[in-house]
């Protein structure tokens, strides 16, 4: 390749765990650096850049300054990749959207609540065009590498549309419901290799809902397994408050 793609990595409202997962490519980091030039990454290096081939963006948008910065990034970038649940769906940050914002601000900052401006936590796609989604909380390194390889090869990455249940079956896991627990696998997008059920946990829905999810049926299943309607809704809201409550 004559010119290596110029890559920038950016973060908004979130935990920076997806970025950390990029620094955690101990075995592949040096290979990755052979194929791209990282020109802007505040968490790991000094310097800013004017033009980018690929921008990886983590975090949700939740302040007026976030909105301004994401427009600036979009303007200078060819391919914009949303990295992780916060950037793709608003993620766990969107839990604050389902309660009155004044109440939320007062609970945390008390009478000083007006010092700090805040907006409902939004996914990147609510404000700018997003070209590729890498889902999960945190994003999985395997999926990132697949997307990265596709982009460096100039191909469009494929986003899975099936549910976590299909991957769980392929792994021969015992169904989480058989263990007397509940699980959001039936309505959650695959691509994580059913990580959580494989480690004895239930699927928390971090990768977002499948296309055209049957949310009512999912709630009925949760209620049939002992949750109240209110608790069933709360379980579903954990990573998907925006999609379920129509904020974006």
């Amino acid at each position: 390749m004559a010119n290596k793609p110029r890559v920038g990595i950016f973060d908004f409202t979130g935990c920076e765990g997806c970025e950390l997962n990029q620094l955690n490519f101990e075995d592949q980091l040096l290979d990755i650096l052979e194929h791209v030039e990282i020109v802007e990454w505040r968490e790991a290096m000094d310097g800013r850049s004017e033009e980018l081939d690929i921008a990886f963006v983590e975090g949700a948008l939740s302040t007026p300054d976030c909105i301004k910065r994401i427009h600036e990034i979009r303007r200078k970038t060819k391919v914009l990749v949303a990295l992780g649940a916060c950037a793709v769906q608003g993620g766990i940050n969107a839990l604050k959207n389902i309660r009155p914002i004044e109440q939320v601000r007062e609970e945390v900052y008390g009478q000083d609540k007006y010092l700090f401006p805040t907006l409902p936590a939004l996914p990147l796609s609510a404000v700018v065009k997003v070209d590729v989604n890498v889902r999960g909380c945190p994003m999985t390194q395997l999926e990132f590498l697949k997307v990265f390889t596709a982009l460096v090869m100039g191909k469009a990455p494929i986003e899975p549309g099936n549910s976590v249940c299909t991957e769980c079956k392929l792994k021969d896991n015992e169904c989480v419901y058989e263990k007397g627990m509940i699980c959001l696998g039936p309505v959650t997008r695959a691509g994580c290799d059913a990580q959580c059920p494989t480690f004895g946990q239930y699927c928390t829905g971090c990768r977002g809902l499948v296309p055209e999810p049957n949310v009512e049926a999912m709630q009925e299943i949760l209620v049939a397994h002992g949750l109240s309607m209110d608790d069933a809704r709360k379980k579903l809201q954990l990573f998907n408050a925006n999609q379920l409550e129509g904020v974006s």
């Binding site: 980091l29 040096l30 909380c137």
Partner: protein, 434 residues
């Protein structure tokens, strides 16, 4: 006519989160020298309200990816105290092993990837791939192994999966633990000794600065306290964890979306240097040997030495992790299910040392096991007032060096604290104005 300074570093690099450094000096009088926290507010305490006890750690883990394991541990301890959930000795040992892995991972990342470039006069770790490949490769190996501890024991190093209130949803095999034990001894230990030698060659570059302050960390009778212990101040000694509010005193300041803290003075410091000052007598001889080699002495009041203290304690974490694995392997892994049957519903406090310092979570639960009140006090938030006080003392001492050099020194100061701003806001950058 005195000196004028006007410095503003916007969105400081090589730290976790968003902050600005601002310095104003007019006619030789320092008007302002502080770290402004501009990270978007997160509102976690409010998000926790009404949530079931199973979800508390899943949510608080997302305060910070780098500290996710520490937030989980602290969250479990608070929930278990509030609900009267006893945990087994095996659970405690596996948790301590996870804490060692996360501490080594975070300390190595900070010392070699984020702080070392300053001493080698480059802007990031990436140029070091060409100039110092053996250092970069050792750092990558150590990070890999530290993260592997997380993956083997809890399924994932960032936002662990199988740790839950009351225990683990799945236990690691004895075989996988034996492999970790072998790799810690044959790989991690030599790599840490090599890293310490590299840091020793850079020790002359560490700025000579001293400001007496209060140091707060956990302290325990049994070990170098990380997972558990009393709250201990270098000024006033030990108190139980239930006194955490008195030992932190969070308050809101207009220039920071993260709250500030103070106890016996205008500020205090938490983190590896605080742990060193309070608990150096609990370190293993090998770690003390590394401390001697690196010139780290008890009662150290130079915040730039925090990075050195991180390297020293990493050696201890590695050896103690090996000792824990020996105990686990000698006893054999017992098949246990998590204890999730509450015996009471009330308030519980968790106090844990995470890489950046002492972390507190407090939750109150109702009879349905739902959170009615939550409070999280974050290490970086506790350090912010101390960073501001350091800047106020440091700037006049170096005022003749010129704006660019001062700005760089202040960036190094803030980085030495290894701040985690996402956390502190549940929330770094440098600004100078003349």
């Amino acid at each position: 006519m005195g000196t004028n300074l006007d410095i503003k570093v916007h969105h400081l690099t090589r730290v976790e989160g968003h902050g600005d450094i601002v310095v104003n000096m007019r006619d030789g009088v320092l008007e302002k020298a502080r770290l402004e926290i501009v990270e978007a507010p997160r509102y976690f305490e409010a998000m926790l309200k009404g949530r079931n006890f199973h979800e508390a750690a899943i949510i608080t883990s997302r305060i910070c990816g780098i500290c996710s394991l520490g937030h989980q541990m602290t969250s479990f301890k608070a929930t278990e105290q509030a609900l009267g959930l006893e945990v087994s000795e095996q659970t405690v040992l596996l948790r301590k092993l996870l804490v060692h892995g996360a501490t080594i991972q975070s300390n190595v990342l900070h010392a070699l990837f984020l702080a070392a470039p300053d001493f080698l006069k480059v802007g990031s770790v990436f140029p070091l791939v060409g100039t110092h490949p053996e250092v970069v490769l050792a750092a990558l190996r150590m990070k890999r192994l530290a993260n592997d501890i997380g993956e083997v024991v809890s399924g994932r190093a960032v936002h662990p999966i199988s740790c839950v209130p009351g225990g683990f949803t799945q236990l690691p095999s004895a075989k996988s633990l034996a492999v970790l034990r072998e790799r810690l001894e044959k790989q991690m230990l030599p790599d840490l000794v090599f890293a310490a030698d590299v840091v020793a060659t850079l020790a002359g570059e560490i700025p000579d600065f001293r400001r007496e302050t209060e140091f707060i960390s956990l302290r325990s009778d049994d070990d170098y306290a990380l997972y558990d212990g009393d709250i201990c101040s270098t000024d006033t000694g030990r108190v139980p964890d239930r006194e955490y509010r008195r030992m932190s005193n969070e308050f809101v300041v207009p220039h920071s979306t993260s709250k500030h803290c103070k106890v016996n003075r205008s500020s205090y410091m938490v983190g590896a240097l605080a742990r060193w000052n309070n608990n150096h007598d609990r370190l293993c001889p090998e770690a003390l040997g590394v401390a001697a080699k690196l010139g780290l002495k008890p009662d150290c009041h130079n915040p730039f030495m925090n990075t050195v203290a991180q390297v020293v304690e990493s050696v201890h974490c590695c050896l103690d992790a090996m000792a824990i694995l020996d105990r686990l392997l000698a006893a054999g892994i017992r098949d246990e299910v998590p204890n999730q049957d509450p015996t009471r519903h009330g308030t519980g406090i968790g106090a844990t040392e995470v890489p950046r310092g002492i972390l507190y979570h407090e939750y109150t639960y109702d009879r349905q096991g739902r959170i009615t009140a939550a409070n999280c006090i974050i290490p970086t938030g506790q350090n912010l007032a101390n960073i501001d006080d350091d800047m106020v003392k440091l700037v006049p001492e170096v005022v003749d060096r010129g704006e660019a050099a001062i700005a760089h020194l202040l960036e190094m100061l803030v980085r030495a604290y290894d701040p985690c701003i996402s956390c502190s806001v549940h929330m770094l950058d440098v600004k100078f104005t003349r």
